[in-house]
Amino acid sequence: MMSSFWFDTAYFAGVLLFIIGLQRLGHPATARRGNLLAAGGMGLAILAAIFSPLQTDYGNFLWIILGLAIGAAVGFMAAKRVQMTSMPQLVSLFNGLGGACAVVISMVQLIGVEQTSPMSQPELGTILLTLVVGSVAFTGSLVAWAKLDGRLKDNALVPPFPTIFNMGLLLVSLGMVIYLAIIGEGSSLWLISLLAISLVYGITFVSPIGGADMPVVISLLNSFTGLTAALAGLIYGNQVMLMGGILVGSSGTILTVLMCKAMNRSLWNVIIGGFGSSGGGSSSAAAGEQVAKELSRPDAAILLAYSQSVIIVPGYGLAVAQAQRACRALDNELTARGVDVSYAIHPVAGRMPGHMNVLLAEVDVPYEKLLDLEQANEALPNTDVVIVVGANDVVNPSARTDTGSPIYGMPILDVDKAGKVLIMKRSMRPGYAGVQNPLFFLENSFMLFGDAKDTLQALLQETKVGV
């Protein structure tokens, strides 16, 4: 049929736009266009899905339009209103909703829709798998969201013996999928148990993983949602869902692996590791004996104003305190005084890879001032003063030396090799990984306690008037 040809073309163009969009998204200069291209592809695919000819078609266009309108309004408002600092949570939440969408449609396919002919084993297996993966992506993303948003403590909802517990749940749910697909049984009780087990698994899969690893988890859950979309595409025989889902699934997986590499750990280690749960009992006991030195704000301002080179190391504390603007202001003042100011960006600083880049871009910090891990570690030994703004684990020297530390082996910024280190922190509490940081007790380290934004502003004032 002629009309069906044009809708197939629209689907094809949608997939093509996804591919080109993803490719453009990978380069800073073309990323914004790439995002719009992918959005255009999605618009095209949705239009084609609404109007393409179907064998059984009851229309129900009002229902569809209503859903699209509500979803678009809510999504748009959420995206426009969110603070830039809490974006990682929002992305995680969006991802969870995508998973929930897959759960809803697969559940309805299994229970609600009357089948004209019994489903084949692969078909049934596909739907059941969609249900399982979608559920894990849904509740897993919600837990990641709650952790990042500070609504859930790091050790909350952790089952006893998490690794064994989770392996058990995984095996049971996959076993149930295979069993149900083979016997072709779709009774509600079985399905609801499978749904419940998968939802619980999503929670207990993410809950033992420490906050420091959340970027990896979000990326992994994102590829799960992609996989779900692809599986749902198999159910409906829809190429856009299949290809779009596979693309997200595979690119999400490789992004996850890249992030793990940046931390010098394997994906497996992240998943079963549960950072911090094994956290150094011995090192924290030793730390009790040591005292960190505090430095007054006027003294810190003088130190900065008369140094030649300053490197700022931003971390999650910068995001929490919304201190990016204050940070930029201090940078301007110091630069005006002839100090060479740059920023050292650890690949996993913050709660998402590139999180710090986004925040600093928001306040117009030029690209040239941003040093990556290697560049920064080359520059640090020749740097007079380092300002650590709310970063902790990524500057912990025990990752280099202490084989007993849970973060041993993670590449870090060697700030301890710089002349002096100023550390802005709210308290002496260990960082997100729950590991004590020997950096604070070094000869050349000085603490500036308090909210990062207030401290930065105070330093700016002192530099302006007092020096």
């Binding site: 993803l22 380069h27 990323a31 914004r32 790439g34 995002n35 992918a38 959005a39 949705i46 899905a49 179907l54 059984t56 009851y58 229309g59 129900n60 229902w63 569809i64 859903g67 509500i70 809510v74 999504g75 748009f76 995206a79 426009k80 929002l90 992305v91 969006f94 909703l97 995508g98 969408c101 897959a102 809803v104 449609i105 559940m107 609600g112 829709v113 084949s120 692969p122 994102n222 949602t225 992609g226 979309a229 749902a232 595409g233 409906y236 829809n238 869902m241 779009g244 693309l247 595979s250 690119s251 999400g252 490789i254 890249l258 998402m352 890879p353 590139g354 880049n357 986004v358 117009d364």
Partner: protein
Amino acid sequence: MEAFIAFVQDNLLMIYSVTFAVFLGFELISKVPTVIHTPLMSGANAISGVVIIGAILLIRQTPSDDYLVLSFGLLGVILGMINVVGGFAVTDRMLEMFKKKK
């Protein structure tokens, strides 16, 4: 097992294209600078909202008086659309900042 073999034989072309798409996804992402990781993840997340099409097709295939299934379909469309529109909008907001400073 027979059903599985039959499934593979019926869908050979699809299996090829899926395999290629997997490698394409790997290739597209493997040389990406860290700066762009967050927007990229967010954009990819928006694309995964393509699952909404399943919810749309579900509503279209449901008899107009089956309000229970229609309501679930509606829920699916809403959830999917939040993922899609919110995802693309928040990605655009992030990238807007990158553009400003050039």
